[in-house]
Symmetry: C2
Subunit: 401 residues, 2 copies
């Protein structure tokens, strides 16, 4: 399948991807678009020109209405876009609605309803256990039985590129806590999925319902202040150590674009309870990449995640909790078994004991003011075509407190 | 100050209260109203009749737009409503817009943005510590230094009266976890405040900013499944043990209605860090009441809460986290020092070891299917007039899983 749109070699935005986002051009209202190569296809204009079925979904500043429309609409839209972008007969009609990515200012792609963060990488959980409790159990006793998760702050989910002001807060001191800017500002490289179709209160969503409810995936950087978190998190979990900002990528990769990437996740032993079992494999062949100030410091492998997205969704609703359009559920830090596959600085530097040395000679235990972090990811597409997730970036700004 | 509206003796909805809510009558769109005695004053009609400045805020299915309008608008509206309801000259114009409460179907009063739950009763925290760790420290080491809190699920905040389906989930078993309906379904009687005016990312809100940002208070029942919670909560806090439902009362009591209730909170020792200090007392003279199947089982005293609402607000934003209109922050379970002042069944029955015996002879360790819980509260108003919070109720429905 070939598109008539020029797609640069190695672009993750080929015709097999077609990720959705929201963008604006100078002086115009935001609208929904689809990334293709170095362009965005303006779906609001395309619909206004009569080339798509429904305009309401796309002349919008968020994806929420389209996400709520459901799987049949998602599939029909994807099929139609594929036709428009591959059949040269449509080129003259469609081409005027392609906007260079460089002219398109991305917006937060959807209004976040609730934000849940999981803890589903076994390597990450084991690393954290070793760092904080050397010689202790490698995993909490519940870890192999359920995908541990908690609610984060939806109101501080921000778009990639938003500056990250170093947070202030309390951390443990000798006698009394110390107040000031965090000295352990960290990243967590994650992959999140976003709910399109809501569910009713009191009605769990089974693992097999994943494709009916979930619209797509984004990259997530769950910025973390480790010192604030360590002091506050007992007994009710992370709060201010996480709630200052969570960044997401602008392009939502549709679930349908990831079919070729699906792979068997690691064997689960003990066997999960029935509500957590899946009929089809939902590991994803996908590699993340973390850059710090332009230097690649890690390539976390997503296929090793122990708990999969459908298991996370089923777990989050097994108590009858309702889903809303825009619910964002993130995987938790993605880490692999080797040092250069770890998805956070606390793991990469072993809580600062073994700092990173960048190629320019700079050393980092945690993030310093002015540092820029960029996370990217690519999944396996059909015929080896890369399915790109774009990127999620952020630069640390200093704070006075 | 007297109102010309008949207000029954002992009503908590006198003219010093004027709580806001959203209601509908058969066949009509929901709109904003104010409770007075046994009536609701229809603010949408009042505004349409030219008796209030702005109609947009009130011909709405939520309070959010009015809450976002800010303190000057809240005060001007409250002043105007007070005039309309006390000056007999307005009686003929206003009286047609009074709806009997029995004809008004309440709605969820505001769209919840983020939901945060604190843990600010020292008696509650000490009880929980004793129940789970007898002989251990009475409080976590951070407890006296910061108001511990965590994010709950905003999407499952429901209106008083919504049936509560008993949640299913995992709980600790002998060898492996057991799956099934919770056998430890509990309540938490709490008082929450709701944010009206948002704040910017990266800009903490000081304790002195409380009145500029917070619109009012509601009652909260933070339903809890203790067995699910106990198994899941390490290390990232409560998740499914809480996320199935949180009920709130229909009427939002304005901050201005609670001026007479303000009192000195318990002495704080050690002295809190500067960002948690307050210039004025923000304890509230207010007593909650919990009924189980019509029998009063507890009267928790709110004035004993260790951490106050302005301290909670300042803490939740000290890391730069932004506020949104509709953010709900709940106090945590309100408990007093004696048995009949405890705000949860886990405390009232000491985790079931000492069941409640109701006057009809029924015994309860935790909630059974069909049980109804009703929480009410009254604060001290001017000249001893009660400021009522209405009620938050819920009945437990059985589940099959």
């Amino acid at each position: 399948m070939e598109t008539w749109v020029p797609v640069p070699n190695g672009s993750g935005f080929g015709v097999h991807n077609l990720p959705y986002g929201v963008f604006s051009r100078r002086g115009e209202l935001p609208r929904v678009g689809v990334a293709i190569g170095d362009h965005v296809l303006d779906l609001a204009e395309l619909a206004a020109a009569g080339l798509l079925a429904d305009r309401r979904w796309f002349a919008s500043g968020t994806l929420n209405a389209f996400m709520a429309a459901g799987r049949a609409v998602w599939q029909a839209t994807r099929d139609r876009l594929t036709t428009l972008l591959t059949d040269a007969a449509y080129r003259d009609q469609v081409e005027p609605h392609l906007v260079p990515l460089s002219d398109a200012e991305p917006r937060l792609p959807f209004d976040v309803a609730d934000y849940v963060d999981f803890y589903s990488s076994r390597d990450h959980a084991a690393n954290v256990s070793q760092i904080f409790r050397p010689g202790g159990d490698p995993l909490p006793p519940n870890w192999l039985h359920l995908p541990i998760g908690y609610h984060g702050r939806a109101g501080t989910v921000v778009l990639s590129g938003t500056p990250i002001v170093r947070p202030c807060g309390q951390r443990r001191g000798d006698d009394v806590p110390v107040f000031g800017p965090t000295v352990k500002l960290d990243v967590e490289a994650e992959v999140g999925f976003v709910v399109g179709v809501p569910s009713a209160l009191g009605r769990p969503v089974p693992t097999a319902g994943f494709r009916d409810h979930v619209f797509g995936f984004v990259l997530v950087n769950d910025w973390s202040a480790r010192d604030i978190q360590a002091w506050e998190y007992q007994p009710l979990g992370p709060f201010l150590g996480k709630s200052f900002a969570t960044s997401i990528s602008p392009w939502v990769v549709p679930v349908a674009a990831l079919e070729s990437a699906r792979t068997g996740p690691p064997a689960q032993n003990p066997e999960p309870l029935p509500y957590l079992r899946t009929d089809e494999p939902w590991g994803l062949e996908m590699t993340l990449q973390i850059e710090l100030n332009g230097h690649v410091v890690s390539r976390p492998p997503f296929a090793r995640m122990y708990w999969t997205a459908p298991q996370q969704l089923a777990h989050a609703t097994v108590n009858g909790a309702a889903l809303r359009t825009g619910d964002l559920m993130a995987s938790g830090t993605v880490s692999g078994p080797t040092r250069h596959e770890r998805g956070s600085l606390i793991e990469l530097t072993w809580d600062g004991r073994d700092p990173l040395v960048l190629p320019d000679g700079q050393r980092r235990a945690y993030l310093e003011d002015g540092d820029t972090v960029r996370i990217q990811a690519t999944a396996a597409g059909p015929d080896g075509a890369p399915i790109g997730f774009g990127e999620v970036t952020g630069t640390v700004l200093p704070v006075i407190c």
